[in-house]
């Protein structure tokens, strides 16, 4: 009997999982879209109000093309935003390379000898193997201008489980303003319910004080 018990306990410990309580989103609203499931992520580079700014769409398309677009854009502007990279020493960069060898792939230490900018270029030039994802990814990039000076960039990133026609994409881009959504079988829910998110930030700030 004892052996039986031990064997059973062992089997439990072997097949059981340490965290088996999934998190579920709650907030669900009605929606007419036909797609089974997709998520939209809303990203703003500068946290400023968009009301008085002029939008200008600078890119719409698939994620793989977006990365090419972003790479060109970044290389053009690279010398403007490398404060921390230029202060980092060559040795430190070698350490980074060691710890990220797998991720950086073909980047060699030699190419990092001129510390700073080269490191930045190496990171940006690194291709991202989005092709292996099973889902379809779409991106729309909009720059917001004030007096012809760009102030912030907004990126709407859609991950879908099936290919979306252009009309539907347009509809999604136009109907979502400043939040991320998780759509699910004709219904829609925020990625996290707003209440949860604020409570999360509140508790987090409290624990810091």
């Amino acid at each position: 009997m004892k052996k039986l018990l031990i064997a059973s306990l062992f089997s439990l410990s072997l097949f059981g999982t340490s965290i088996d309580k999934p998190f579920m989103t709650k907030e669900m609203l009605d929606n007419d879209l036909e797609t089974h499931e997709y998520q939209i992520f809303f990203t703003k580079t500068n946290d400023i109000a968009l009301d008085n700014l002029t939008p200008k769409v600078i890119f719409t398309g698939k994620l793989t093309d977006y990365y090419d677009f972003f790479k060109k854009d970044m290389i053009k502007n690279l010398n403007l935003s490398t404060e921390t990279l230029t202060t980092a020493s060559t040795n430190a960069l070698n350490t980074v390379t060691d710890s990220m060898k797998n991720n950086l792939g073909q980047v060699t230490k030699d190419s990092l000898k001129n510390a700073g900018q080269n490191f930045g270029v190496a990171l940006i030039m690194q291709p991202i193997s989005i092709g292996l994802f099973g889902d379809d990814h779409y991106v729309q990039v909009v720059d917001y201008y004030e007096n012809d000076i760009p102030k912030t960039r907004v990126i709407k990133y859609i991950v879908s489980d099936e290919a979306l026609p252009n009309e539907e994409l347009e509809m999604i881009y136009n109907s979502t303003n400043d939040r991320s959504y998780h759509f699910n079988r004709g219904k829609t829910a925020t990625a996290f319910s707003q209440k949860d998110y604020f409570q999360f930030r509140k508790t987090h700030n409290r624990s810091q004080q």
Partner: protein
């Protein structure tokens, strides 16, 4: 011999039971996520002045797929704390490559990153399996095959002092 046979049967029986238990769905809100005792976060500076650093969170054993969100949230909370402690406001994820903001990955909030890496769903639509498999294909979260391994999520971030309008950065005041 008979004991051996019984043990084998009981193993199979209880294995079935344990599978059954984990099928139970329980609702948790973001601020009530159950943490295990073995969950721990570490910070490691990768350069002299600490503007590039690595934050990793690990939990003993194999974490259930959906529970992996705990690792992501804990890691990003720790990263925000560390950035604030160093007196900066903005940072950028540079590793793993699939979520590298420096390469153009557009997500910069905890809620969105978690939903992206660990998709959640109330019911199970057709596309759900594809979405949940994203955890494996994104290869950002390290989940072992058996409970003898360690589940791990690790990011390398760099601090950005003054981001330009096109820089995708995390803001420690709004994440």
């Amino acid at each position: 011999m008979r004991i051996f046979l019984f043990s084998t049967i009981m193993i199979l029986f209880f294995a079935g039971c344990s599978q059954k238990i984990s099928d139970k769905v329980q609702n948790y809100s973001l601020y009530e996520i159950p943490k295990t005792d073995t969950t721990k976060s570490t910070v490691e500076n990768l350069n002299d002045n600490g503007t590039i650093f690595k934050v990793s969170t690990s939990a003993n054993g194999k974490v259930e797929k959906k529970g992996a969100m705990l690792l992501v949230i804990t890691t990003m909370q720790k990263t925000v704390e560390e950035t604030k402690r160093k007196g900066y406001r903005y940072f950028q994820v540079i590793s793993p490559t699939t979520i590298s903001n420096a390469s153009g990955f557009p997500i910069n909030t905890v809620a969105d990153l978690t939903t992206f890496l660990v998709p959640q769903s109330d019911n199970v639509p057709e596309g759900y399996n594809g979405m949940i498999n994203a955890i494996e294909t994104h290869s950002a979260i390290d989940l072992p095959l058996t409970i003898f391994g360690t589940s791990k999520f690790e990011v390398v971030v760099r601090i950005v002092e003054e981001p330009k309008y096109y820089d995708i950065v995390w803001d420690t005041n709004k994440y």
